[in-house]
């Protein structure tokens, strides 16, 4: 994995970027923090923030021309925050006695300051604090320059006097009534180590470096009105401070230009979308200065601009309290660890890889891609925790085994000739379709693995519908597209699977695939762009719904789009057309279509972190008052388990008479296996009139499993076939423990990389299952300790 590229992506994230108010403030007052403190009534903390960033805060805080206010995002929703009025309030309610600062020994060099106005005084005070010997040359008989013009209601003469006295008390040398001209300046430049020119007017034009404020490479630095060409006080103060930094760097003989790109006013890369915020007008002052209560209310209007769009949409990022920049730093660390614990593994395996983050991002940063690449890297380096995806990968292997996998061409005319009789030949679209058969497979119906597992009885109906409606022969292909391998980062396995699908496609003379599962659609788009695909839902729209009496209860549904179809807007429209045609109303969710959310199954988070998966489920089902309509089997499964009434599109197209389909419990993991197997049997028997090979999924032992145990079996990803295997072994070989007091047995069997344990009682011919659990650790039974040559550690 290219970690430099990864970090670059992280650096592009604007989550940590400053708000526009702070970026437009020449001295970068931390305005969000400042307002937050006011909001909490902590005026003293707000005051400390002013003191930290604002030179002569007692003066500027009262007369600042506040360039921060105009660009305030709130201006689009009620009006800018009155930051300057709040500064005045803080100076009223938050002042505390400053700590005594012990002056540094003055041994760092001599600096002359020309002009005792705001910029000159800022440079002088900053350099004095740092240990320079500062001399001020002022042409009048008092310090302050044009600050005196601001004396009025806000800045009183007393306050100004007091602030200027604090400067004169610092024991800097001040020459009053001393005008500096060009020749005097030349003299000062030889006498002093550096000179700061802070007069409003100067007799000759000067060329100033816009970053360092240095005049060519001399010891002369310029600031204030002469530089800024404006009468803004905050720009004057800022230039004085920045010149002081330059002078210090100049005298310390370090680079004057390094990392200064964000000094003064800068354009923040932050983008903020205020459209969702309710407009609120500014709080009016009831007197000259905000009361504390008014100030608090005004500060509350601040929306604390920060880009959180992806975080707001993603319960995973919120659960781990991560922004993309921080997330990427954690991945970087996790990837670089050689010895030690990979703490971020669990987080990386808790992403649903749904892609909403990219949709929400102004800069299209895709955490989905970042995390996917990370998982591939973990697998490649042997660092992917096996337990995270083991069950899902075994499930995929099952679907591609002879239990389910099947490829068949449409039954030929010759094979179907027994069906070509009246009235079937006139009234059955399916039979008509068979009659038109050409022997060339134009379409291959690929229902995926989860749809047949959830809707085993509908696959045959769908197949017959397709034969009867689409032009050309329709074959069938049962298997798993490889989505679990993709999500698990198993590139090798994924490519193997893709090659297998390609082989079938080529052998069948390149038919169009008809897909019904949103994950299959995503996988085909990503890995098999050469194969033409159509979605089953698009075909229903084009060819008409099957001739059935649909249950039409006038009801409004909210459509939850499957995250795998995010970019497939035609599909979204098809689904809506079908729902409307069936007579249902639709209320769109806030996050829908290209901005849909994941149900909690995506990215295999369901297996890697059940708690995180539940958080996805609960958030999503809480977003709709209406029953949900989904078109992915796993979405339905998870939402119904979460207690939400949810219809799958097939529930509406092929309604069942067995009660309420919106609350029907979906099959367990074991039943999903059996259902797939059953689909294959049904198709072989009823469509191709083949006698199926022996039913390998048959259960020979009769189990009685109480509900609480059933739930544990499901939560622990244990299959009934595992339990059967343990019991068969225990019964045949007596490999088990017995408890004479309770009559219970406890037996274990290692299957592949997992040991399964079953506690049971025998009741006549059946087995009452008391508990089932497993572990991955291998117990080396009967192995003498001394035999093992490997390093042995005490646990």
């Amino acid at each position: 994995m290219n970690l430099d590229k990864l970090l670059e992506t992280g650096d592009r994230c604007i989550h940590k970027e400053p708000p526009t108010c702070t970026a437009q403030c020449p001295v970068h007052l931390e305005i969000i923090d400042f307002l937050s403190e006011i909001e909490k009534g902590n005026f003293q903390n707000a005051y400390k923030l002013m003191e930290k960033k604002m030179p002569f805060h007692h003066i500027i805080g009262r007369i600042c021309d506040h360039p921060c206010e105009a660009p305030c995002e709130r201006s689009e929703a009620g009006g800018s925050i009155r930051i300057s009025e709040l500064e005045k309030a803080v100076l009223e309610y938050g002042v505390y006695k400053p700590k005594k600062i012990w002056p540094l020994p003055k041994n760092k060099g001599k600096v002359a300051i020309i002009g005792g106005g705001l910029s000159g005084l800022t440079t002088a005070v900053d350099l004095d604090k740092k240990g320079y010997i500062v001399t001020i040359f002022e042409k009048t008989n008092q310090l302050g320059g044009r600050l005196w013009d601001f004396v009025g209601n806000s800045l009183t003469e007393a306050i100004l006097q007091q602030e200027l006295k604090a400067v004169t008390d610092k024991k800097m040398i001040i020459h009053f009534e001393e005008t500096v001209d060009k020749s005097k300046l030349t003299e000062l430049l030889t006498e002093y180590d550096a000179v700061y020119l802070g007069t409003a007017n100067w007799e000759a034009p000067v060329e100033v470096n816009p970053v360092t404020f240095q005049v060519s490479d001399s010891a002369l630095f310029v600031g204030g009105q002469l530089l800024n060409k404006t009468d803004s006080v905050i720009f004057s103060a800022s230039s004085g401070r920045r010149a002081a930094i330059s002078i210090e760097r100049y005298l310390s003989k370090v680079s004057l230009t390094d990392s200064r790109d964000r000094e003064g006013v800068f354009e923040t890369p932050l983008q903020f979308d205020i459209s969702s915020k309710e407009p609120l007008p500014p709080i009016e002052k009831s007197a000259g200065i905000y009361s504390q209560e008014e100030a608090i209310e005004e500060a509350k209007r601040c929306v604390k601009c920060q880009c959180r769009k992806c975080i707001e949409g993603c319960v995973h990022m919120r659960q781990f309290e991560m922004s993309p920049d921080a997330y990427i730093r954690q991945i970087n660390h996790n990837e670089r660890i050689i010895l030690g614990t990979h703490y971020a593994n669990k987080m990386i395996n808790s992403c649903a890889e749904c892609g909403l983050c990219k949709e929400e991002c102004f800069l299209e940063i895709s955490m989905n891609d970042v995390i996917h690449e990370t998982r591939e890297s973990m697998v490649e380096r042997g660092k992917m925790p096996v337990s995270a995806h083991d069950f899902a990968l075994k499930d995929m292997a099952f679907s591609n085994s002879s239990h389910f996998s099947l490829v068949r061409k449409q039954p030929s005319k010759e094979e179907s000739k027994d069906l070509f009789y009246y009235p079937l030949i006139s009234f059955s679209d399916y039979v008509k379709g068979l009659y038109k058969g050409t022997g060339k497979t134009e379409y291959l119906f690929y229902p995926g693995c989860q749809l047949p597992a959830s809707y085993p009885d509908d696959i045959k109906s769908i197949y017959e519908y397709l034969v009867g409606h689409v032009k050309g022969d329709v074959g069938i292909y049962l298997g798993c597209c490889g989505a679990p391998a993709d999500w698990a980062g198993q590139q090798g396995l994924m490519m193997e699977n893709i090659e297998a699908i390609k082989k079938v496609w080529t052998e069948m003379e390149r038919p169009t695939f008809i897909l019904a599962c949103s994950s299959c659609i995503r996988i085909f788009e990503k890995y098999l762009p050469e194969i033409k695909v159509e979605s089953l839902w698009d075909i229903y729209v084009r060819e008409g719904l099957p001739n059935k009496d649909h249950i039409k209860i006038p009801q409004t549904l909210s459509i939850h789009d499957a995250c795998g179809t995010r970019e497939n807007s035609d599909l979204h429209e098809s689904v809506r057309k079908i729902v409307a045609k069936l007579g249902y109303g639709i209320e769109e969710l806030e996050y829908s279509k290209e901005k849909t959310k994941c149900c909690g199954y995506g990215g295999l988070v369901y297996y890697a972190n059940r708690e995180q998966s539940n958080a996805f489920v609960n958030e999503r089902i809480g977003e709709s008052e209406h029953d949900l309509l989904v078109y992915c089997a796993m979405c339905k499964d998870l939402f119904v388990s979460g207690g939400k009434r949810t219809y799958h599109l097939l529930d509406l197209i092929y309604p069942k008479d067995d009660g309420e389909s919106a609350t029907r419990k979906m099959p367990t993991l074991s039943e999903r296996h059996r259902n797939r197997s059953r689909v294959k049997q049904i198709l072989l028997k009823e469509i191709w009139c083949e006698e199926p090979i022996e039913d390998v999924m048959e259960e020979n032992l009769t189990l009685i499993i109480p509900d609480d145990v059933k739930k544990n079996i499901e939560d622990r990803y244990i299959l009934i076939e595992d339990i059967q295997a343990v019991l068969k072994n225990a019964e045949a070989k007596n490999e088990r423990f017995c408890n004479p007091d309770t009559g219970e047995y406890l037996a274990r069997l290692r299957r592949d990389n997992v040991t399964f344990w079953v506690k049971y009682e025998k009741e006549a011919e059946s087995f009452l299952i008391k508990s089932v659990y497993s572990h991955r650790m291998e117990i080396l039974e009967g192995m003498e300790i001394a035999e093992e040559q490997n390093e042995t550690r005490k646990l």
């Binding site: 669990k346 408890n739 344990w757 991955r776 650790m777 117990i779 080396l780």
Partner: protein
Amino acid sequence: MKHESYDQTKWLCDKCQRELELAKVKVRYMEGNFEVDLMKCPTCNQVFIDEALALGKMKEVEEGLEDK
């Protein structure tokens, strides 16, 4: 990883009909090899792991090793 569960003394090895004894047993996961005191049948060496151990300490150690 010494483990003594409250009820394990009641269990017998069904094959050998012997009481279980605490013994040093070798366990292995990924790159990790450990010696653990566990209850086992002194005759056939069948090792007894109860639910609390499998889902508690063993799972914790498995996860720890997976994250190494």
